[in-house]
Amino acid sequence: MGRFYELYFERIHGFVRRMVGDDVQAEDVTQEEFVHLQRAIPTYDRSRELSPWVFTIATNKVRDLWRSQRHQQMVRSTSLDDGDEDGRALQIADVRAGALPQLEDEEMRARLSAAVDALPAGLRAAFVLRWHEELEFDEIGRILERNEAAARKRYSRALSELRRTLTAAGDALRSPGGNA
């Protein structure tokens, strides 16, 4: 169990933190996840891959949090459907339209991290599960209750949006009023 914890703590917390955007809530949801895992591990089907199972539970915990917040009208509606295929949440520009700005690593890291946090939830989940957790698209699709093609598309759109954000930041820096 120690090994399991070492393997998954940072991954689960990192995913949850990206999704809920708040340190305190991330800790609460992460703890909920491990309580759930503790309870569910005896019934875990060992023929299944572990990571998708773990992240499905984490995703459901995040959904539960959002549902409770929506139910209590505490936050604007947030959903893993955000940024879905109808494109309502994004206006994707030509992703090859401009070069990425030349920034110091720390600034680039900060801008990218903020850009990831600003992605619609559905795209953000697909990005984190693919980029950080290296899950297969069919696994991501199952976690997000979509098919493989939709998961692939979400990831692609997340990358497009990140590039668009960075390119826009570079344009701003190069403009006369920019800091560059």
Binding site: A26, E27, T30, P42, L112, S156
Partner: protein, 273 residues
């Protein structure tokens, strides 16, 4: 690290994305949750996935068992099962909401992170408090329970900031102004609580006490248990035992240690046991 190839093959972006790391957890949260998780660990857990664990991990040992060893294994299994049942019951116990607004609340509104909420709508208020960093009470007192670990009463006009009351790890908050009554509950255990004011820092491991802050200074009065108070003018904490107080003046004159103020302790006494 070998990254998965994205559908767009955008090497420039991928190089930039290498800079994006996972958000990291507070080390104390990581350690505390690990301790709890392992304390509840059952031996039947998978340990690691089939992807990450050698396939021969468990099966060969079963074939080596003799009759005596089998009985021992059965006994160990029974004990493990019993432990698992106890732990499952523990972990499945009804988990209280993180914050619960209690009867005895007379406030008309509570400002949570700059947003005024109707105190009568307890569910909304409780949900907002989960991630609150700053709270200010208006029109009366606010009485709340944090998980099943602590009861707080904030008098009219009390303002708290820098609030960190996470799932594990010590509570941390600052009383900017007003009166805060605190009673820890048995489940608080050794979690610890640190309360700052303009004039002192109070460390708590389980007790009932009140912190009162006004323009003249800060006072902590202890009803039961013991807490440690470090005035702004001091280097080391001093204990404040039951029935005693520490008042630290804003003008930084020497702190005043003596019997607790009855009026400060009254809200604490009224918090449910």
């Amino acid at each position: 690290m070998t990254r998965p190839r994205d559908p767009q093959q955008d090497p420039e972006l991928e190089r930039a994305l290498e800079l994006v790391t996972r958000p990291t957890a507070r080390p104390e949260f990581r350690a505390a949750l690990r301790e709890r998780f392992l304390a509840g660990a059952v031996e039947s857990g998978p340990g690691a996935s089939s992807r990450e664990r050698p396939a021969h991990d468990a099966a060969p040992r079963r074939a080596e068992r003799g009759p005596r060893r089998g009985r021992l294994v059965l006994l160990a299994g029974a004990l493990a099962t019993a432990a698992a049942v106890v732990l499952t019951v523990f972990l499945n116990r009804t988990r209280p909401a993180v914050w619960t607004v209690l009867d005895g609340t007379s406030a008309t509104s509570v400002v949570v992170d700059g947003r005024a909420l109707d105190a009568a709508d307890r569910a909304v208020l409780a949900a907002a408090l989960v991630s609150a960093r700053e709270v200010e009470v208006r029109g009366g007192a606010l009485r709340v329970r944090v998980r099943d670990e602590a009861l707080l009463e904030l008098s009219d006009g009390t303002r708290l900031s820098q609030m960190q009351l996470a799932a594990v790890g010590p509570y941390h908050l600052r009383t900017d102004h007003g009166s805060l009554a605190v009673a820890t509950m048995p489940a608080f255990g050794q979690r610890g609580m640190r309360i700052l004011t303009e004039d002192f820092a109070v460390s708590v491991t389980g007790t009932r006490f009140a912190v009162d802050v006004d323009e003249h200074g800060s006072c902590v009065c202890c009803l039961s248990g013991t807490l440690a108070c470090t005035p702004a003018t001091a280097q080391a904490p001093k204990p404040v035992p039951a029935g005693q107080r520490c008042f630290t003046a804003r003008d930084r004159s020497p702190s005043d240690w003596g019997p607790a103020h009855a009026e400060h302790l009254r809200p604490v006494e009224q918090l449910p046991e």
